[in-house]
């Protein structure tokens, strides 16, 4: 009589192996990017970040990679995985359906080394759009302990406040691919996040900042930013709604 396998046994699949191709590049020494191949075993739940760390631990400790939380919260481990910008900690090898996983540094960001890129420009443009509440009554007195807001008002911007500044949207953006001065989808989405906040009074200031030849008008609604966002921010929506304010479609 055959035994019925338990759920735990059903989930036990033998380890499989893949080739992990890691881009190696040091701008101080190398003239071009090189790839190093490593064969590693993985389980159904193994993430690309875990695979990279496995390689770093056992094969090549010199691989430069930035990571921290391992749970898609810190936004540190953005990279190009099989041609698309993704978070390495949020991408399982099993869901890529490929025997070869290629990891490269994010496009449109200067490379520090290997998979680690510089975030200065992203933080500069983020800061440029004034990512904080602008309000005359910022001092909290005993009478006004908080700025009240209805759930409907919260819904207007809560989606955009999920941004973890991982830079995947800027890496996927076709305008960022050619225009070094473009403010980028991350900063524009954050401009909308504060413009749409009922507590904020800085709408005119922010619209003036992004009303620039390298500002919001350089977005052509390709939508790639929204497709790669790991937190569901949908920057393309925020940018179009923001432009709706500027074109007079919205008040």
């Amino acid at each position: 009589m055959g035994q019925i396998p338990s759920m735990a046994e059903e989930n036990m699949t033998p380890s499989q192996s893949i080739t992990l191709r890691i881009a190696k590049y040091n701008p101080e020494h190398d003239s071009a990017k090189k790839f190093m191949d490593f064969t590693i075993t993985y389980e159904r739940w193994t993430t690309v970040l875990e695979a990279i760390l496995e390689v770093k631990k056992h094969f090549d400790h010199s691989i430069a990679v930035r990571y921290s939380c391992r749970q898609a919260t810190c936004g540190s481990c953005g990279m190009i995985i099989n041609g698309k910008p993704r978070l390495a900690c949020f991408t399982k090898i099993s869901e890529l359906n490929s025997n070869v996983i290629t990891v490269e540094p994010m496009n449109n960001f200067p490379i520090i080394r290997d998979l680690a890129v510089k975030f200065e420009r992203l933080f500069d443009t983020h800061h440029k759009v004034k990512p904080y509440l602008i309000h005359d009554d910022t001092e909290i007195t005993s009478d006004t302990k908080e700025f009240l807001q209805s759930p409907e008002e919260l819904e207007q911007y809560i989606q955009f406040s999920n941004c973890i500044k991982c830079g995947l949207c800027n890496s996927a953006c076709p305008t960022m691919a050619t225009d070094s001065s473009f403010v980028g989808p991350q900063a524009l989405a954050q401009a909308y996040r504060y413009v749409a906040d009922s507590r904020d009074k800085g709408k005119d200031q922010r619209l003036k900042i992004i009303d620039d030849s390298h500002g919001i008008w350089r977005c052509h609604f390709a939508g790639s930013c929204s497709q790669v966002c790991p937190k569901g921010v949908d920057p393309a929506m925020g940018i179009q709604l923001l432009r709706g304010y500027m074109l007079g479609f919205r008040s």
Binding site: Q159, A177, S180, S224, D234, A236, M237, L241, R243
Partner: protein
């Protein structure tokens, strides 16, 4: 800082239509059709300026458009014109925030509301209408 230092994808990355679905295909077609229509516009001005050479000069130039190659180019111009118009209306509405969805608390797997079926239908409609217009143009020009 050079392009390589900044690690920019460049024009090759900008026009690559393979990674991000039909929206990026529409993005590429919009640029190609825009540049094509600009080239046609310049050619058209040059063509119509031949009237300054008198009736014979005008007729000689007009004969170029009556060749097989001329008909093929005009058919492509028709397709570019229709695609650019229909997709342009979709993009303009999107730029005004029309049809891009409403902000809402996102749920996993985070399907972006701005990349919705209405916009995809708009893109497919633009491609299909351009193809129909081009075929109609070919039928009229080669059916003589």
């Amino acid at each position: 800082m050079t392009n390589q230092d900044e690690h920019k994808e460049g024009i090759g990355g900008m026009i690559n239509p393979r990674r991000y679905g039909i929206e990026r295909v529409a993005y590429l077609l919009m640029r190609l059709s825009g540049l094509g229509l600009l080239a046609y516009f310049i050619g058209h001005i040059y063509e119509t300026s031949s009237i300054l050479k008198g009736e014979i000069g005008w007729n000689e130039f007009l004969e170029i458009t009556q060749t097989t190659e001329g008909h093929a180019i005009l058919a492509i111009v028709i397709a570019m014109c229709v695609f650019h118009t229909v997709n342009g209306i979709r993009v303009m509405l999107g730029h005004g925030g029309v049809g891009v969805g409403k902000p809402a608390r996102p749920d996993y797997p985070y399907i972006p509301a701005s990349q919705n079926i209405r916009h995809k239908m708009g893109i497919y409609s633009a491609i299909i209408l351009a193809a129909i217009a081009m075929l109609y143009g070919l039928a009229v020009m080669f059916g003589e």
